[in-house]
Structure formats: structure tokens, C-alpha cells
């Protein structure tokens, strides 16, 4: 019974940690997005709440929680209430099988940096993400509003259609790694950048990666595939009628899905928490160097500041960065902090890509969107899978 | 004892689900609901297949379930297309109105 207790205990602790980290990330991802888009558009972005608007997410949360929760009289009530719940729970569910790093030792227990490892983890994620469409479709339908309905219809058609090339794109690296467990998938990519599936022989999965990313944009309804909530034609698409916490649920679901697909891309193609080159060549020093450079930059900008308040904040940030750089040198935390750094770095890069694309690209026309996946992505993904399968079969044995 | 489920429970569950599917088929008038009742029956049968597979400790039942799923997918595509066509022509989803095969 002690083992069971400890298993449940450990799982509960891990869940709490992951949940807290995820929620914080969600909140701050929103902030980062606004900041990045603002800088792309040459404006400062959120700046008022806290230094550099760092407390803006907290303010947003408070606003969303305290707003009046409107329940329009003409909606299908049970489904209207069910939809955001479905959306957020499906989005959060898939994070449970994603591994963030290797096993760590905390005191007497050794455990994996992962909530649970399914030997069909990839299938699980596919299954859960395929269920995610219900939230949006039902929200659209239950709102009893033509904009919402069209948004929901578009969304379900789009998600079903893009699931196909996505699954095919996922299948190709799986063939190379020969497993469905996400943890083993990463372990198979150990040994530097040329062991990652995106560059790994016998057939580098570059095409597969690109297809996966395009499909991921569509699955998360991000620009340029945000037809379901196209503001200028559908007001706000499927969540037109939602407000307050229910609106926040859809919002969070979208960002959680972004994180999930970014993590999936990292795991499937970019080697998960593996460093791009061996420790012998100084891989363990990379975070220290990066944070040190960040600290130097912050200190420099603190002395040559454009705004008055930055004179105080930027040096503080610089010092914090230096401290973090120092932490990465401690041998006792290196074993789990370094993998986490690489994982978060890769995922963050892909998330940055999401934001970058949002700031850059216009929206698809709807028929182009469907034609693109069925007439281009799907055949290419199929061909890529065939070539991969052929080469894998050729080189095995 | 509490740690194991008799296999007949699974089969009984399958029978209940199947009967409910039949009931849906018989008592519902909406053509889509009737169609979904068929899916429910297929699911009930799938459960029996997987159960038998467990009993015989081999994988064939899973394969049959797999094939049933594929057939169900094909059936859903064609069936829903037919429903769309029917609705386009008659603007009704009531199955009792679609009886022009008589005479």
C-alpha cells in the first residue's frame, strides 16, 4: 500500500506542478504574443500594469473572472454550458502524456518528468485532439446564432480535414523511431542534431515537419487558418455569444492547444529535451551563455534607457538573468534543468513561430483552405509517408 | 474477486446496448437518429468482438472490430450523403415520410 500511496502522491504532486506551470505559461503566452505583435508593429504593447506590463495577465484574469457571466435566453442551455468545458478539458488532457525531460531524482524517489507514459501516447494525443472539435462545433451550434453556427461548421470541417495530413505527417517520424510512446520517441533521438527525426536518415523528415506545422496552425485555428473566428466576417465566430469565464475557457483552450502541438513538434521532430550537440562540445554551457548575454543586454539598456522607469527595472532584470545563468552552472540541478531548458527552448521557439506568423500572414479564403489540404497537403503527406516507409523498409535488415 | 469482472457482464452490457440500438431504430422517427442507432448497434457488436478476443487471448476480434469501424466510416459517409440528398429533395428528415418505395 505504501508503494500505491507514493505513486498516487507523486502523481498528484506532478499534476499540481504541471498544472501550475501550464497555467502560468498560458497566461504569459498571451502577454508574450501581445508584446511580440506590438514590436512587430513598432509599438510598445502592454506597458502599464507592472514593469513592462509584466502583471498584465494577472489583471486580465481578474477582469475575466469578475465580469458578468451572460447567458443569452435563446441558446441551447446544456450544450452552451458544455461546450467551453469540453474545449478546455480536452486541451488540458493531452498535456498529461507529454514528457518534458528524463527521469529525475528528488530525495528518495526517482520519477519521470511526465505525468504518465502511455505506450500509445501518440494515439492518445490524436484521439484527444480529435475530440477537441466538439467544443467548438457545439459552441457554434448551441449559441443559436448564425455567425457562431457558420464558425462552428467551418471549424469542424477544417479540423477533420487537417487531421488527415497531420496524422500522416506524424506517422512518418514514428516509422523511423519505431515506437508510439512519446518518451521512447525522444530517447530514440538521442545523440545530437543529426539524430533528430527532422534530420535523421534514411529520409529526413523536413517535409513532414512542415506539413505538421501547417496542419497544427489549422488545428489550433490560428492565423492564417482562423476562419472559424474570422472577426471581419463572423464577428467572433463560434464564441460570439460567450463572455467572461466561458470565453476565457475557449481562449485558454486555444493557447493550451498551441502549447501541446508545439511540444508535439518538439518531441516528434526536434529531439525533445536532447541537446543539439554533445556535452563534450559545451552543450551544458549554452543556457549560461544565453542568460549571461541577456543579462549584459539588459544592463546595457538600463544605462542607455529611453524611458525613465526602465532605469530601475532593466538592471534588475539583468541581475536576475545573471543569477539564472549562475544556477545553470550548479552541477546538482544541471541534470534536470538542462533537459528542461532544451525542451522549453525548442517549444518556445515554435510558439514564437506561431506568434510571428500571426503578425505576418493574412487569412485564407475558405475554399482555398479546403482545397489546399485535400489537393496539396494530403497528397504530399501521403507521398512523404510512402517514401519514408519504403526507405525504412529498405534500410532495415 | 473484486478485482476481476466476469466476462458475461461485458456480453450482457453488449446485449443491452444492442437492444437499445434496436429500440432507437424502431421508435425514433428522425432519420439521423435512426442512423445513429445503427452505429450504436455496431458498437455493441464491437464490444462483443473485443470481449471474445480477450476470452480466446488472441487478436482476431480486434481485427474484426477494426473492419467494422472502417465499414462504419464508409457507411456514415454514404449514408449521410443520402440523407443530405433526401433532405434536399423532400425537406424532411422523418423516416416515415420517405416511403416511396411502396407500390
Amino acid at each position: 500500500m505504501e508503494l500505491l500511496d507514493s505513486f498516487i502522491f507523486i502523481t498528484l504532486v506532478k499534476t499540481a506542478v504541471v498544472f501550475a506551470v501550464l497555467m502560468t505559461t498560458l497566461a504569459y503566452l498571451q502577454w508574450v504574443e501581445r508584446k511580440v505583435i506590438a514590436h512587430v508593429q513598432v509599438r510598445p504593447g502592454p506597458y502599464r500594469v507592472g514593469p513592462h506590463g509584466l502583471l498584465q495577465p494577472v489583471a486580465d484574469i481578474i477582469k475575466l473572472l469578475t465580469k458578468e457571466d451572460l447567458l443569452p435566453p435563446y441558446v441551447n442551455k446544456p450544450l452552451y454550458l458544455l461546450a467551453p468545458f469540453l474545449a478546455i478539458s480536452m486541451a488540458l488532457l493531452s498535456i498529461s502524456v507529454i514528457p518534458f525531460g528524463p527521469s529525475i531524482q528528488v530525495g528518495p524517489v526517482t520519477t519521470w518528468m511526465q505525468l504518465t507514459d502511455l505506450n500509445i501516447g501518440v494515439l492518445f494525443i490524436l484521439a484527444v485532439s480529435s475530440m477537441g472539435v466538439y467544443g467548438i462545433a457545439l459552441a457554434g451550434w448551441a449559441s443559436n446564432n448564425k455567425y457562431a453556427l457558420i464558425g462552428g461548421l467551418r471549424s469542424s470541417a477544417q479540423m477533420i480535414s487537417y487531421e488527415l495530413p497531420m496524422s500522416l505527417a506524424i506517422a512518418a517520424p514514428l516509422l523511423i523511431s519505431n515506437t508510439l510512446s512519446l518518451r521512447k520517441l525522444v530517447e530514440a533521438q538521442d545523440g545530437g542534431i543529426f539524430s533528430w527525426n527532422i534530420l535523421h536518415g534514411p529520409f529526413p523528415q523536413v517535409i513532414s515537419f512542415i506539413i505538421f506545422m501547417i496542419a497544427a496552425f489549422a488545428e489550433t485555428n490560428r492565423i492564417p487558418f482562423d476562419l472559424p473566428e474570422a472577426e471581419n466576417e463572423l464577428v467572433a465566430g463560434f464564441h460570439t455569444e460567450y463572455s467572461s469565464m466561458k470565453f476565457a475557457s475557449f481562449f485558454m483552450a486555444e493557447y493550451a492547444n498551441m502549447i501541446t502541438v508545439s511540444a508535439m513538434a518538439t518531441l516528434l521532430f526536434l529531439g525533445g529535451w536532447m541537446a543539439p550537440w554533445p556535452v563534450a562540445w559545451g552543450a551544458s554551457l549554452v543556457p549560461t551563455v544565453i542568460f549571461a548575454i541577456a543579462g549584459v543586454t539588459a544592463l546595457y539598456h538600463g544605462t542607455h534607457t529611453a524611458r525613465k522607469r526602465d532605469k530601475l527595472t532593466l538592471p534588475v532584470f539583468g541581475i536576475i538573468f545573471f543569477i539564472i545563468a549562475g544556477v545553470f552552472l550548479l552541477p546538482m540541478v544541471q541534470s534536470w534543468l538542462l533537459p528542461l531548458f532544451w525542451f522549453a527552448g525548442k517549444t518556445g521557439a515554435i510558439l514564437f513561430l506561431f506568434i510571428w506568423v500571426r503578425a505576418t500572414l493574412p487569412r485564407f479564403r475558405y475554399d482555398q483552405l479546403m482545397g489546399f489540404t485535400w489537393k496539396f497537403l494530403f497528397p504530399v503527406a501521403m507521398l512523404n509517408l510512402l517514401v519514408t516507409a519504403f526507405l525504412v523498409a529498405w534500410t532495415t535488415k | 474477486m473484486m478485482n476481476a469482472v466476469p466476462i458475461s457482464w461485458f456480453l450482457t452490457l453488449s446485449a443491452i446496448l444492442f437492444a437499445l440500438g434496436v429500440a432507437g431504430f424502431l421508435f425514433r422517427r428522425n432519420i439521423i437518429t435512426v442512423f445513429m442507432s445503427i452505429e450504436l448497434m455496431l458498437n455493441a457488436v464491437n464490444l462483443s468482438f473485443v470481449t471474445f478476443s480477450y476470452q480466446h487471448k488472441e487478436v482476431s476480434g480486434h481485427l474484426f472490430t477494426f473492419f467494422v469501424m472502417v465499414v462504419a466510416a464508409a457507411e456514415a459517409a454514404v449514408g449521410l450523403a443520402i440523407i443530405l440528398t433526401v433532405f434536399k429533395g423532400r425537406s424532411t428528415l422523418n423516416i416515415d415520410d420517405v416511403n416511396s418505395m411502396k407500390n
Binding site: L79, L82, L123, L126, A127, S130, M131, Y134, W141, L153, S156, I160, E163 | M2, V5, P6, I7, S8, W9, T12, L13, I16, L17, F18, A23, G24, F27, R28, R29, N30, I32, T33, S37, L40, N46, V50, Y54, K57, V59, S60, H62, L63, T65, F66, M69, V70, V71, A72, A74, A76, A77, V78, L80, A81, I82, I83, L84, F87, L93, D96
Partner: protein, 165 residues
């Protein structure tokens, strides 16, 4: 543990299935059916059918039922109209007899000798299914792909708009 798990999900399945039948609105029925499928997926896991459980969710709940929901939304189908004769009189007694007979047969053929335990059968992973699929059941598999192709073509032919010449 297993019994509790089974009972929970069996009850959910039966409740959802009843809901499928009694709801007058097709979209409620559809969502209940998704519930049945989800709980069946858990029961499949209990029976050691990992791959089938995943496929159940991906294919049935994630694709087929979405198609249903999609069509219901497209046709904007309302609650069903009550007209035409009811089949409750011949149907319900027959159904009860049928269910009773089925239960009787199951009890007769399968006495409680075989017990299902989680992990009692591990041959249902993707690898086992795939091996069987591409060796013993290769021909059915290929035939199924033809079936799918035919279904796609049939669906397109049925549902496309007539192009005016």
C-alpha cells in the same frame, strides 16, 4: 478496482445509450452516442485492446460522430415531428423478449469462469494488430481500402451539386 471501473463506465454507457434513444433532438442523441463510444473505449482498455480503444476514439468519436454532428448542424435539424404510426406496441414487447433471451443465452454459454482483469491480455497493442492486419488479414484489409474508395466516390456523387450544363 476493475469491477468499479467496469461498473462506472458500463453505467455511463447504458445511461448514454438510453439518452440516445429517448432524446428527441438529434444533436443530443449524437452527443450521448459520443459518450457511449468514449466509455466503450475505456472498457476496451480494460480488455487489453489498446489500439482499438484509441481507434474507437479517433475514428468513431473523432471522425464519424463529428460527421454526424456536422450534418445535423448543416441541415439545422430540429426535434423530430410526431406523426405516422408508433411501433411501440409490437416493438417494445419483442425487444424485451429479445433482451431477455440474449441475457439468457449469454449466461448459458459463458458461465462466470472467465474473469477479466486489467492487463490479463496484452496482445492488443498496435504492433500485434498491425502484424495480424498485414499477414493473416491482408486481403480483407486491401478490400476494405477499395470499399473506402468506393464510399468516397459514392458520397461525392450523391452529395455534390448538380452542375447546370
Amino acid at each position: 478496482m476493475d469491477v468499479i471501473l467496469f461498473l462506472i463506465f458500463a453505467l455511463i454507457a447504458v445511461a448514454c445509450a438510453i439518452n440516445v434513444v429517448v432524446q428527441t433532438h438529434p444533436i443530443s442523441s449524437a452527443l450521448s452516442l459520443v459518450g457511449v463510444m468514449g466509455s466503450l473505449a475505456v472498457l476496451y482498455l480494460l480488455l487489453g485492446a489498446e489500439f482499438i480503444a484509441a481507434a474507437q476514439v479517433i475514428v468513431y468519436a473523432g471522425a464519424i460522430m463529428v460527421l454526424f454532428v456536422f450534418v445535423i448542424m448543416l441541415l439545422n435539424a430540429g426535434a423530430e415531428t410526431r406523426k405516422g404510426r408508433s411501433y411501440l406496441i409490437p416493438g417494445a414487447p419483442l425487444l424485451i423478449v429479445f433482451l431477455g433471451l440474449m441475457a439468457f443465452v449469454v449466461q448459458r454459454i459463458f458461465p462466470d469462469s472467465t474473469m477479466v482483469r486489467f492487463g490479463g491480455f496484452t496482445g492488443g497493442g498496435p504492433k500485434d494488430v498491425g502484424t495480424a492486419l498485414f499477414t493473416t488479414y491482408l486481403l480483407p484489409f486491401e478490400v476494405t481500402s477499395i470499399l473506402i474508395l468506393v464510399a468516397i466516390i459514392g458520397a461525392i456523387v450523391l452529395a455534390r451539386k448538380e452542375i447546370d450544363q
